[in-house]
Symmetry: C5
Subunit: 102 residues, 5 copies
């Protein structure tokens, strides 16, 4: 899984029939600030993840990728490769709290 921040959303009217009803979130992976390892920064890549937990912009979330993402979707036959599996409350690095949800 990766930690990612929800940055926005995607609207696609013309889509695969199995994708109807899904909410598409634009998320950016978070990486530990090297080399001090005391804070997060945004990574270089951008993903679109399906959400069923009600995550919103600014939230830090746990995203599962690949075939395991299908097990997190409501329908195991959904052609999805990234799904939000948790909304993060707190992250501790080296016993320091580096993130806490408001």
């Amino acid at each position: 899984m990766i930690l990612a921040r929800v940055e926005g959303s995607v609207i696609a009217t013309k889509k695969n029939a199995k994708m109807t009803g899904h909410k598409f979130l634009v998320v950016r992976p978070l990486v530990i600030d090297s080399p001090e390892a005391v804070a997060f920064k945004s990574g270089a890549s951008t993903l679109v993840a399906i959400d069923s937990l009600g995550a919103g912009e600014g939230d830090v979330v746990l995203v599962v990728q690949g075939s395991s993402a299908r097990l997190a979707a409501d329908d195991k036959d959904s052609p999805v490769d990234a799904v939000v599996i948790g909304i993060v409350d707190q992250v501790d690095i080296a016993k320091r709290q580096v993130f806490r949800a408001n």
Copy 2:
């Protein structure tokens, strides 16, 4: 899933028998312009994705990768690892509209 822009197409006459009839699109992943996060730019990699939605050059699309791509193809036994699952109408980042299809 990733956001990608359709850049072109590929013709391959000599191919695996299961690939007959597929349309191959050349797509480039889009990433959020760091650190302001208000626009997209093209990523460094290049993919070839199967399309059954009628996407054309210049379109921004949602692409699913890996084993989940097979569930988006018409035939689950197709040896494909990237399929267009949506043609994007609009992308919002930080409540600003950063892309809207013409």
Copy 3:
């Protein structure tokens, strides 16, 4: 598999029902220091891995990723893509001991 160092942990109260009871560790991949190949340094990415072996901060662990991670979890239907499968005692590179657990 990759070698990674456990850097911290994640708390997510609101999560996929199948993730209840899992312990989420923040880990950073370790790479061989190029070009001398005699020591490890931390890679640029950050992962969250499930742990059932009792790994703690500072431990070097073996992490399996992708669909194989599910086979390492207690429940094969868990939507996980990274699981700790070993706590590392020793790593030898070019017949030199570059890591030994305390």
Copy 4:
């Protein structure tokens, strides 16, 4: 799928029994030359792909990766993660022909 150029070949006498008879090609992924997007250049990574279509050095090919590669192999139980599924005749980017096989 990715576009890649066949650069060479690999001989491995001592191998997994299921790999007997496979032809191993060394291929390099091709990426669109950023930012003009009018030509290809070689990417930084190197793959070894199985070929059953008769691709040779210098050919541009389509390569499928991951679990889908097994569906392109003659034997679905082959432990392969990259297979040539097409020999490319032509690639068009932005309506310009950027590659054509001789």
Copy 5:
């Protein structure tokens, strides 16, 4: 598959029960020296691969990754994502021999 050089080994006493008896090799991917494409150099990443062919330090090997790696292991339920499937005798690039095992 990728080409990789065996750099060392990992000892992990505390591990997933399914991993007992596996030999863990530290390997570094090899990439073609760009742009001349006449030699290999070590890539930036580091993997740990399971070996059942008797590969040793300094050997160049073929490594299969992802779910296909399980098909190369003796037990298809092993939680492994990288397995050595061949010990390389020779690599030719652009009709030049760039590697030959001693």
